[in-house]
């Protein structure tokens, strides 16, 4: 028994260390190459910020960043408002059983959703662009926001609502002063999740823009396809920085039973 314990205590840490190496060696090489003066990652020509400088100067990147931010913010606001409205107003009515509707966008492969959206938009000849992109990303966002808010909302104790009503608050005050503050961690978490999903999304954007609008992942893809440029190293590091900040914010929320990450 003791012998076995010993082997376990050696094998498992080695395994986990190997796994983390597998996970992080490519990322670390990527970050180091973004500071490399040479355009080739396999020869080190000294530290430089050239690629970051070029990234800063690039007009295309700023344009893409602007679009990405617009789309992500709009889809966060839309999916939070629509999702919260559904969760709150459907509670206790027959509409609550339609919660299952929102799992559809999680269960289907993203490419099927993208194909559906594209055929829908072309059939009604909706011009492809930022609007269609926001519509598509909100669809994905609702699939995460509604189940999350729903479970949090139904965990809230009705006693608090009742107390608030008994003490003379009207429905509106109860909602804004009692329910909304209690839901705020879940709201923050869903906002961050929707933001990063939209910010990183490629497949829906690829189908829903029709080549008219550039977002950061689309720009990223087009540069890789046309022969990678070292600017992409710098851009990747920026992406990694953004997601680590979001993860830090997210984990500081300390939400119980979060199975979404």
């Amino acid at each position: 028994m003791n012998q076995q314990n010993k082997t376990c205590s050696y094998i498992f840490p080695c395994l986990v260390a190997a796994f983390y190496m597998f996970l992080y060696v490519p990322i670390i090489i990527l970050i180091i190459s973004s500071f490399n003066a040479s355009a080739y990652s396999y020869e080190w020509r000294g530290f430089s910020l050239t690629w970051y400088h070029q990234l800063w100067e690039s007009v295309e990147v700023w344009e893409a960043l602007r679009n990405s931010c617009i789309v992500a913010t709009a889809s966060v606001v839309l999916s939070l408002v629509l999702g919260l409205m559904f969760v709150v107003f459907a509670a206790g009515t027959w509409l609550d059983h339609l919660l299952l509707t929102f799992y559809g966008s999680l269960a289907a492969p993203e490419i099927v959703l993208a194909v559906g959206l594209l055929s829908f938009f072309t059939f009604f000849s909706v011009p492809l662009g930022l609007t269609t992109l926001i519509a598509g990303h909100t669809l994905i966002g609702l699939g995460y926001v509604v189940p999350l808010l729903h479970s949090r909302f139904h965990e809230l104790s009705y006693v608090l609502t009742e107390a608030s009503l008994d003490l003379g608050a009207d429905y509106r005050t109860t909602f804004f002063r009692v329910i909304l503050p209690l839901l705020s961690p879940a709201l923050m978490a869903s906002a961050l999740l929707t933001f990063i999903l939209s910010f990183d999304d490629f497949i829906i954007s690829f189908f829903c823009t029709g080549g008219t609008t550039q977002t950061l992942p689309l720009y990223f893809f087009s540069v890789i396809r046309s022969g990678a440029s070292p600017i992409i190293n710098a851009l990747s590091s920026v992406f990694l920085l953004v997601s680590s900040i979001v993860v830090l914010l997210f984990s500081s929320l300390k939400i119980r039973n979060m199975d979404f990450f």
Binding site: F12, L23, P26, F89, I111, V112, V115, V246, V247
Partner: protein
């Protein structure tokens, strides 16, 4: 729950009208478009009913592409499971001091764009990349190989990109697992292996299943990895759908292929689900879990 319904302030108002916009959004942009795609696959350019698209799909090329995607998805999911289970097990059972740090570093790739993750492999797998340099220095190979644009690169990077999706659900189940059950099993004379096989694994089955499908379903429709790392030489389901819709503009054929592959994906998922319940869970445990004791 019952009390919620009775006391709920907003159910008293009965203004469930406001719940409808989200539903409309979902139905209009998800369910109606899917019906559209289905209709499109049965209608030709003169808007007559036709089965010609499906007939056209019925050949060896499409069959091979479907099989290739199924193989990619299944292999990725199985290898991810084999790597992820020990890691999740270790993180949940043995680590206490560095747990948060390790989890933090596990989540970052999960929240980073897939494109960044796969681009990270370019400088390693390239002909002049690190893998070839190291292997040459070690004297294992004499000439650099083309690792990029091969099926190997596609499989490797798929596993890399999807592994966090496997670890997180398994970890969250294992962490909530009741340690007393394992202790009871050990006390009653089972060996550590038997306890693992008969207690821990069956109890973590929901996590394994979730993780498996979180990897299997998106990997089946994947098209970015095959295009960028497979060089587009070998077609997969995702890349063929993209080709039909965006390159060759034959949306009827694309719609038919989308539906065909979705149906095959659903069948594959059902079979996998059945396999999980029937084969992977030992019969005795299954009896204990699913049949109520008298």
């Amino acid at each position: 729950m019952k009390q919620w319904q009775e006391y709920h302030l907003l159910s008293r108002i009965r203004s469930f009208f406001w719940a409808i916009p989200a539903l409309i959004w979902q139905i209009l942009l998800l369910y109606i478009p899917l019906v559209f795609v289905l209709m499109r696959s049965f209608v030709d350019k003169e808007s007559h009913f036709t089965l010609s698209y499906y007939v056209e799909l019925f050949d060896a090329t499409h069959f091979i592409i479907l099989l290739r995607s199924l193989a990619l998805a299944a292999t990725t999911a199985i290898i991810c499971l084999i790597i992820a289970y020990p890691v999740a097990y270790f993180l949940s059972m043995y680590m206490s001091r560095f747990k948060n740090v390790l989890l933090f570093f596990l989540i970052i790739p999960f929240w980073t764009s897939l494109l960044v993750q796969l681009y990270a492999w370019f400088s390693i797998l390239d002909k002049h990349g690190f893998l070839n340099i190291i292997l040459q220095k070690l004297g294992i190979i004499s000439q650099p190989y083309h690792v990029l644009n091969t099926p190997f690169a596609v499989y490797l990077v798929s596993i890399y990109c999807y592994i966090p999706f496997m670890i997180m659900p398994i970890y969250s189940i294992l962490e909530k697992l009741d340690m007393r059950l394992r202790e009871a099993s050990l006390d009653l004379g089972a060996t550590r292996w038997e306890t693992f096989r008969r207690v821990t694994v069956p109890l973590s089955m929901p996590g394994i299943k979730t993780g498996f499908f979180l990897v299997f379903i998106p990997a089946f429709g994947e098209f970015v990895i095959p295009i960028l790392l497979g060089g587009g030489k070998q077609l997969y389901v995702g890349s063929l759908i993209t080709h039909y819709f965006l390159v060759s503009r034959s949306s009827g054929l694309g719609a038919a292929f989308t539906w065909l592959s979705s149906v095959i994906l659903i069948i594959a998922t059902v079979i996998m689900h059945w396999l999980f319940v029937r084969v992977v869970t030992p019969r005795k445990t299954r009896r204990a879990m699913y049949e109520p004791t008298k």
